[in-house]
């Protein structure tokens, strides 16, 4: 890759926005300001950025219940996202989807998804659209280590390979399916080994290392764009928060938490770009402050926004229904 200064600043900005968005949502949730429940992405930012850095608005992604990071990396409006998490009328989905269903189809974000493993088949669909219409659009299917054990993901990876679809499967292995460790729920030594079964390339990379992910994604997405078919990338990462916010995380040891903090993806990115003198500390500090301001503005926007009118219960079920 060519790590231009502009690109590095963009990547850092978006990673920080994701972290601050999630930390803020955690705080708001703990303060009883948000309805429902939320699954936070903090700790996995390098994956969303390492992958989405290669995508345009015309490319597609499918996401998961832990989707805020994917949304921000794909360019979904942060004010709309925050309002959606609040259940407000100005939300990305008019307050009708919530945290687990934030979507922006026109930006290629085909939705967070409350059903674990549901994104694989959907990704085959958008991949099929691109192939049928002869465009060079690529679909990235983000899925967790928990979803890796769903039949839908196996079916989808097989179908994508049978049909040679422009789909890249990105497994975010954060170590736990809810509270169940992946060493227990996964019979394979690594999730990327499963690529062999579908005759596609499969690699495992450090999911806290932006540059490793960026390079693996560059190859896989380039391959898909050239019509050479699917790939599987497994990113070994961690999450700072529980499965859902409020999870006491008794399954984490203190050593594990300390180990995770020591490989924070944003700190690693920062260290690398500073060491290589690609950017200055001052520039990054400015970005931190700016990102914090953007998130504060989003909260203000959401809080000032009205709740949806009750008549909205009945709308948007069908395009047309007599």
């Amino acid at each position: 890759m060519s790590p231009t200064k502009e690109k590095m600043l963009d990547v850092y900005t978006t990673m920080v926005k994701i972290r601050k968005f999630e930390d803020k949502v955690a705080e708001l949730f703990a303060g009883g300001k948000l309805p429902g429940f939320v699954h936070l992405y903090a700790g996995e930012e390098a994956i969303a950025l390492g992958v989405c850095a290669h995508l345009t608005d015309r490319d597609y992604i499918t996401s998961t219940h832990r989707g805020h990071g994917h949304c921000i990396a794909k360019g979904v409006d942060i004010n709309g996202m925050m309002a959606e998490v609040y259940g407000k009328a100005t939300g990305s989905c008019k307050g009708k989807g919530g945290s687990m269903h934030i979507a922006d189809v026109h930006r290629g974000m085909l939705g967070a998804n409350g059903i674990v493993g549901a994104g694989g088949p959907l990704a085959c669909g958008s991949g099929l659209t691109a192939k049928t219409l002869g465009t060079d659009q690529v679909t990235v299917c983000f899925f967790g280590d928990g979803a890796a054990e769903q039949g839908t993901m196996h079916e989808a990876m097989n179908l994508a390979c049978c049909w040679n679809l422009p789909v890249v499967f990105v497994c975010e292995n954060n170590g736990y399916a809810e509270s169940t460790p992946w060493g227990y729920h996964c019979a394979a030594k690594s999730i990327s080994d499963r690529a062999v079964a579908y005759d596609m390339p499969g690699v495992t990379v450090d999911g806290t290392d932006f540059f490793a992910i960026y390079e693996a994604a560059e190859e896989a997405i380039g391959r898909a764009r050239r019509g050479e078919g699917p790939s599987l990338i497994e990113c070994r990462a961690f999450r700072y928060y529980g499965h859902f916010q409020g999870d006491a995380m008794l399954y984490f040891t203190e050593e594990e938490k300390a180990h995770n903090r020591a490989r924070d993806p944003i700190e690693r990115f920062k260290k690398r770009v500073l060491e290589r003198k690609l950017v200055s500390e001052e520039e990054l500090t400015k970005i931190d402050a700016k990102a914090a301001g953007i998130i504060e503005e989003a909260v203000e926007f959401a809080e000032k926004s009205p709740y949806p009118d009750n008549k909205e219960v009945l709308t948007d079920v069908y395009v047309s229904y007599p």
Binding site: C93, I115, L128, T152, A156
Partner: protein, 340 residues
């Protein structure tokens, strides 16, 4: 309009063919919809072996090619979900779920994804897809290849459910379903595939949610769908000889459902029998009875009756299966019990 007699199977085939000619975004996929994909001894890549397990898609792969008529692995979750993903990104896929009984391996993709995307996304997405699927008993196909199950789909907001009884209706309704911007489940009764009827050569549409009064009458209203339309018409013929005039309302789509035609008919006849091949609990039959009980109770001169399959799986043995399927005899005796 030039019409000629063709089969129910040909009518469905023709609806797909004409829509695929008209709109390049219409594609068809499912298990064996072409068949024999890529086998070297199949001359030319577009030649088909099966054209669908009962030949409904015959000739489509040769005409439109393997890129628009795609065989799938036996992976219903993947390809029904792919239909949802393709529909929300610009195609109009027709996905064939071979037997409706297979919904058990792909239901999430239908009710949690296809049916809900538009609502969950605040109206900012649409899912213009059709799932064609075979229903019905009478093929000695036993419990896992013979059910109707359409009531389950009608229960789900966001889906439309269409059941044709004649070749004419099948072509017009399927054409509408393909052009519709919502997910439509199109149910095809396997016993009807070889039935014939007059069908125009060109494309035409029949609106969803508009019932068709297949026979007018003044004494009793039968509300029905699918194969049971024919059983009900046969029963009506017999009853006419005894001086009972039955009105047969073919709903054609059960979601949306033409409530007005049902209510107007009952207001005229004052008696209702619902004839439904599906099982009876929480079903189309109970739904229609509830509608009439709630909105036309004062017009009723007799209790509403349901002639349905029993609350059992479909049995295999021919004598048992015949006993399972609602019969013309039962329809006749049920109607007679109301007009004594």
């Amino acid at each position: 309009m030039v019409t000629r007699k063709i089969t129910f199977r040909q009518a469905i085939n023709e609806a797909m063919r004409l829509e695929m000619r008209r709109d390049p975004t219409v594609i068809l996929f499912g298990e064996d919809v072409a068949g024999g994909a890529t086998l070297p001894h199949m001359e030319g890549e577009n030649k088909e072996a099966w054209g669908g397990v009962l030949g409904v898609s015959t000739g489509l792969a040769p005409e439109f090619g393997r890129n628009r008529v795609l065989d799938t692995p036996i992976s219903e979750s993947a390809f029904i979900g792919a239909a949802v993903g393709a529909a929300s990104t610009g195609l109009r896929p027709i996905a064939e779920l071979m037997f409706v009984d297979f919904l058990g391996v792909c239901f999430d993709q239908i009710f949690n994804q296809g049916a809900k995307l538009r609502y969950m996304f605040g109206g900012k997405a649409q899912v213009p897809m059709v799932i064609r699927t075979m229903i019905g008993a009478g093929f000695r196909a036993a419990a896992q290849h013979s059910e109707c199950l359409y009531s389950i789909f009608a229960h789900i907001p966001g889906l439309k459910s269409v059941i044709a009884s004649t070749p004419y209706d099948a072509k017009g309704l399927l054409t509408t379903a393909i052009r519709d911007n919502d997910p439509v489940i199109f149910f095809e009764h396997k016993v009807l595939y070889d039935t014939e009827g007059e069908v125009p050569e060109e494309a035409y549409t029949i609106p969803l949610g508009v019932a068709d009064v297949k026979r007018e009458g003044k004494d009793v209203t039968i509300v029905t769908v699918g194969r049971m339309v024919h059983f009900s018409l046969e029963a009506a013929e017999k009853l006419a000889k005894d001086g009972v005039n039955v009105e047969v309302v073919d709903l054609r789509s059960i979601s949306p459902m033409d409530k007005n035609t049902i209510l107007n008919s009952v207001k005229k006849t004052h008696r209702l029998v619902v004839v439904d091949e599906d099982t009876p609990r929480c079903s189309l039959a109970t739904d229609v009875v509830a509608l009439v009980a709630e909105q036309a109770f004062d017009y009723l001169d007799a209790p509403c009756k349901m002639v349905t399959a029993p609350h059992t799986p479909v049995p295999f043995s021919p004598s048992l299966e015949d006993a399972y399927i609602p019969s013309v005899t039962t329809i006749v005796s049920t109607v007679k019990s109301l007009v004594r």
